[in-house]
Subunit: 314 residues, 2 copies
């Protein structure tokens, strides 16, 4: 998971001296932060250090990232005129350069995972202005001004399609599409207001894709239909049942509750064994947490977890 | 849904003069507020006006209900000693008296729905101290001090069993067990840390029961196994698929996204028709929202919705 770094002292040391977007926007620093969890935990892949709002900055939107709150949008998007003002937005050159640096430094047997927010989740932030439990302002725009909504998501999908293609060109081996808030929608609303735009981005990727969401136990078939070679599962669903729903022609990733890592080791090991047992050694299972690493996680637990999974699956 | 009142001017007028627990703790006022939505919207049932923390006050816990935040617990429960200090707690006499008043005033063909928080959700608030997205303090206690956790939930389950029995004795025709936060748990953790205590309360009810949760699309079989004649569904799952998972020997309720009520009427009608179509007229479907009415909902939309559902199903 992308946020593995938040629990690392070496990441925090850098964050004391640099803002988030400064880190993400300076190729050497971004590459360094991307590589930190691989060095420390010996995991199989590096995940690009970026925020889902990274490509949006180039579209003329002011975003601040506030510790403990998340992205804050300076002028939330609420009208057709707001959408019209969005610039097409080139993929940020600094991010692409960071990917090149990481790919050059990373061992050949480690994957480099590119990263992009799904248009729906990014639009939730752009319309709401900040994180929210139910994103009511976003839902209200979606229901009351569907044409504004569809224009906004189309604009984002076009920009993100260029962004993911450029990431693959720069060395990403696969792309993870992050739809953190898809789970606030009913299946019917997901199909109408979110899926077409996730599909457009996923289809633009000339490489394998992971389609990630949380709270999506009731949306798995719809997410699968929107695309993704691997479907992300949070912990709110049993992996074996979810994989049956998704279908055996796709892979699945995730499933361990990040909060379990706050428990004593025996429980971490037990919960991990349970995930692996449900995966049953079938090809196409990527072990991962169901969502980001919690900042208060002991980094040594993550290192031990990575070793434990390697040991159990080798 | 219980919170229907929040959108009503007649409820707000009362709340200007009385605090929440004052309303809930004064039988005549509690009865009045319980009856308001029935009078205005002509719905088929009255839902007891109470908070999930209501029975906890009698156990010696100080709770404040803060507008826009929810329950705030004065001294969160974190240790075995904290749990030991809890008093058994008699069912609040004022609530029972309110039920008697409502039952006497309510037409014979309208149901009176009693109301009780599930031990898991109440424990989340008691340990965390207040609402939270992921209730990490509660999960940490659950993982690190399981014996404290189980003692706390056993104590709550015993108190709530007496509370629901007393509600039925006072005139409630059925009981809704409210497990708002069950959806933060993995299915395995739900079975271990929550289900036994919901089961104990549900089994104590000498009347039909509704077992309600949100974000539970991946937990439906586990919730069904814990009990409930009717299983609550939020909007994050398609009703027909969810009912198949729950099984045809149980009823289901809910499923309309409360946010849809902020949309123009045609969309409200369309989403409602979709829920009814998926229910397919099978006996055992209780039309409802998937969660509480949002405060900004136009009361006239609710009235129109109740009439529309009656018309569509008559």
């Amino acid at each position: 998971m992308r946020q593995a770094g938040r629990s690392l002292p070496e990441y925090r040391a850098l964050r004391e001296r640099h803002g988030f977007f400064e880190l993400a926007g300076t190729p050497e620093l971004c590459a360094e932060v991307t590589l930190q969890p691989v060095r420390r935990h010996d995991v199989d892949a590096a995940v690009l250090f970026a925020d889902i709002m990274t490509p949006v900055l180039a579209m003329g939107i002011g975003v601040d990232l506030v510790e403990g709150i998340g992205p804050m949008v300076e002028s939330p998007i609420r009208t057709a005129a707001d959408v019209k003002r969005l610039r097409p937005g080139e993929p940020p050159a600094e991010t692409l350069e960071a990917l090149r640096i990481v790919r050059a430094e990373l061992a050949a047997d480690r994957a480099l995972v590119g990263f992009c927010g799904a248009p729906f989740t990014v639009a939730c932030y752009l319309v709401e202005g900040r994180s929210s439990r139910d994103f009511l302002a976003a839902k209200e725009l979606m229901y009351r001004e569907p044409e504004v909504w569809h224009t906004l998501l189309g604009t984002l999908a076009d920009a993100f399609s260029g962004y993911v293609r450029a990431q693959v060109d720069a060395g990403a081996d696969l792309i993870q599409l992050f739809d953190s808030w898809a789970g606030i929608l009913s299946p019917a609303d997901y199909e109408e207001f979110a899926a077409p735009y996730s599909r457009r981005v996923l289809e633009a990727v000339p490489a394998p894709t992971v389609h990630f969401g949380t709270g999506t136990a009731g949306l798995l078939t719809q997410m699968r239909d929107a695309g993704g070679d691997v479907i992300g599962l949070d912990w709110r669903v049993a992996l074996d049942r979810a994989w049956t729903t998704v279908g055996s022609d796709r892979g699945v990733q995730g499933n361990l509750d990040p909060a379990v890592l706050l428990a004593p080791w025996e429980q971490v090991a037990g919960a991990t064994r349970d995930v692996l047992r449900r995966a049953g050694g079938r090809p196409g299972h990527v072990f991962n947490l169901g969502h980001g690493v919690l900042p208060q996680t002991d980094p040594d637990t993550l290192t031990r977890l990575a070793a434990f999974v390697h040991e159990q699956t080798s």
